[in-house]
């Protein structure tokens, strides 16, 4: 079944640790996105990719980095986690641009102590 997977679902980690949030999709979509969502707030785009070896920063400044070595895989890395990074991180993919249907994963809830 075509889907988009995020791991871990929940992560509690101490300040200064390096973390990688995983995102994989089985739909063969070229476009992938990382959004940040805080309670009661809008989704904010932090990274997007048009395809392999193509990554761009979104409108929300983020200290995270991403890579796109394979079409199906779009991991997000924080080199040194801080409490300000506490948030929900949502990965999404689409066949075309974001004006088309976005398929979202279930998200990773990150808590940095």
């Amino acid at each position: 079944e075509a889907d988009i997977y995020q791991t871990p679902r929940y992560l509690v980690i101490g300040t200064g640790k390096k973390i990688t949030l995983e995102c994989s999709q089985t739909m063969g979509h070229d476009k992938m996105y990382w959004y940040q969502q805080d309670p009661g707030m809008e989704l904010h785009l932090i990274h997007y990719s048009y395809g392999v070896n193509s990554t761009e920063k979104g409108d929300l400044s983020s200290e995270s980095t991403v890579s796109r070595i394979r079409t199906e895989h779009f991991p997000l890395t924080l080199e040194s986690a801080r409490p300000s990074h506490t948030s929900q991180y949502l990965c999404a993919s689409s066949e075309g641009g974001a004006g088309e249907k976005l398929f979202f994963g279930s998200g990773t809830q990150l808590s940095v102590l």
């Binding site: 009661g40 707030m41 809008e42 785009l45 974001a98 004006g99 088309e100 249907k101």
Partner: protein, 112 residues
């Protein structure tokens, strides 16, 4: 001022009621309008998609766009407890534009 405004709710209605959810926006260049539904601890899923002005119906759901008023609505008929979720509006200026502008979402509670 935010580009897209959405009442956060919660909006609590009895089962079977007609629900109206709304977003207002300030950028007249928006042409593509979407409604996403997000259940607790899940990612959003696309519910309705409309281009420019007009209505679009899909089962119990109707999406309405009024570009002259910069106002979009989602109507849910015969609401069910399973409709309880947060409803997010999103909009874009161009097809294929990676940048969607999102509302903050309205939490809807349908009471049995």
């Amino acid at each position: 001022q935010k580009e897209v405004e959405q009442d956060p709710g919660p909006l609590s209605v009895p089962e079977g009621a007609i629900v109206s959810l709304n977003c207002t926006y300030s950028n007249s260049a928006f042409q593509y309008f979407m409604w996403y539904r997000q259940y607790s601890r899940k990612g959003p899923e696309l519910l309705m998609y409309t281009y420019s002005s007009g209505n679009k119906e899909d089962g119990r759901f109707t999406a309405q766009v009024d570009k002259s008023s910069k106002y979009i609505s989602l109507f849910i008929r015969d609401s069910q407890p399973s409709d309880s979720a947060t409803y997010l509006c999103a909009m874009s200026t161009d097809w294929g534009n990676y940048q969607l502008i999102w509302g903050a979402g309205t939490k809807l509670i349908i009471k049995p």
